[in-house]
Amino acid sequence: MSTLSEFRKDFEIFDSGEYVYFDNAATSQRPKQVMEAVSEFYRTVNANPLRGLYDWSMEATARYEGARKTVADFIGGASTEEIIFTRNTTESLNLVAYSYGMANVQEGDEIVITVMEHHSNMLPWQMVAKKKGAKLVYLEPTMDGTLTKEEYESKITDKTKIVAIGHVSNVFGVTNPVKEITAYAHSKGAVVVIDGAQSTPHMKVDVKDLDCDFFAFSGHKMLAPMGIGVLYGKRAILDKMDPFLTGGEMIEYVTREDATYAELPHKFEAGTVNAGDAVGLAEAIKYLQKVGFEAIEAQELKLTTLLMEGLKKLPYIKVFGSEDPAKHCGIVTFVMDGVHPHDLSSVLNDDKVCVRAGHHCAQPLMQFIGAGSTARASVYFYNTEEEVKIFLEKLSKVREVMGYGA
């Protein structure tokens, strides 16, 4: 516990003590070590990586490729050829949709996703399905967010070419049985894409154990800068895929008419790369490992439990998803009777409490649960019990502000 409060001191944005930041599912805060690592890269070794034959460029390359190794180890011992740096999860998923999906999905095939997907793991597949004349099949959870075996075994069939599924829902916070779904999808010959944007910051991820074919995540939700993301893909599959973007530093030979492409992973990293932020991501990973996922999960569970217990005492609040705080991954989505989530969020902002309100880039899920819009509080390991108390106290006054008696 005392160590967590020590870690919190690394996050200078909290120094003023003014704000309660409960929108960690949207983006996390960054510790000074991460910002220092990025700054140090630009201050001391900056040059365009992978190109120059001089010291700085070679050192920049070494830092960039070192960051790739850190990422590869972090997600379960992938090889560095299997780690592609992107801008974010959205770009990673689009890479798979355009480069793998468009080449391998044919008319009459099926793509299976869930109604819980973030738009980032939905729209790329809508696009592929539409362009290729394939069918997009939706898995539907129970009302507490559970994807049952019957549901996925009835909808993943021999026609299924791709199964794309979120590891953790950004609305329910529920962890989906991705390992089981992957095994079943493989038995049907489908390729599995996992959106790990909401899981990677909060739990140990092992892509080898999951055995998924692709795994995408963003740095900015796990202490790293905005603008650096990752796509893991199995080498055998990546090898056969065409580049997503073409241009600089992803080539072998270029003539006026043709080009041959660079080896993995550079084939998928056209143009000058975001080396500074890749270094930041590596530092963020080191930081998370120093905190430890056990401590992270324990703190999140403690805060989520307190949060949900507090919300239960407010009769006009309805929480979505499981009643078990352990099944929320720090995410608590709710509505307040008679108060629109945008008003709720604005009133809380007046008290310097930051929560998300809206459809959370999951409109089909909002339709599924029958809410146009919801409010979401999401915690991370650096949040405190004191902050949960402040949040609950301020929240309990919102209805009064909105004209519903005292």
Partner: protein, 146 residues
């Protein structure tokens, strides 16, 4: 005005006890206005006598600011000529965007002028202007009743 004060003194009254949230008889113009990103969704109906707006009403749902703003707007435009209403819409949207700041123009908005401080809440601008934007669109050649 502080946000909480704005809710307590202006917005809540119109949101919880709207005067014009109703269907009107034989409307001449009906237009739906939506803010897809936040779910504000209104359908505005107006009745005209020549150039004059003689009645107005709306239905729909959304945040308190969007609903109160459209209620106040209908208050303002009933009895006015079409071009006056269009001009008021320009003033209101200018005020919310912080482009119109002179008191004389803003006073013409009467009670709706109370939403001026939304100009300092960029996230809520869309909510405040939804009704006005819809009205402007329909009067500038929007949606006739079939």
């Amino acid at each position: 005005m502080e946000l909480k004060q704005l809710y307590r003194e202006i917005v809540n009254e119109h949101n919880l006890h709207p005067v014009h949230k109703k269907t009107i008889e034989n409307p001449d113009l009906i237009l739906r206005g939506v803010n897809p990103s936040c779910g504000d969704d209104i359908t505005l109906s107006l009745k005209l006598d020549g150039d004059i707006i003689v009645d107005g009403g709306y239905e729909g749902s959304g945040c308190a600011i969007s609903q109160a703003s459209v209620d106040m707007m209908v208050d303002q435009i009933v009895g006015k000529k079409k071009d006056e209403a269009i001009k008021l819409a320009g003033t209101f949207m200018g005020m919310i965007k912080g482009e119109v700041t002179d008191e004389e123009s803003i006073e013409a908005l009467d009670e709706a002028a109370a939403l001026q401080d939304v100009a300092h809440m960029p996230a809520r601008v869309k909510c405040a202007v939804l009704g006005w934007k819809t009205m402007q669109q329909m009067l500038e050649g929007g949606a006739e009743v079939e």
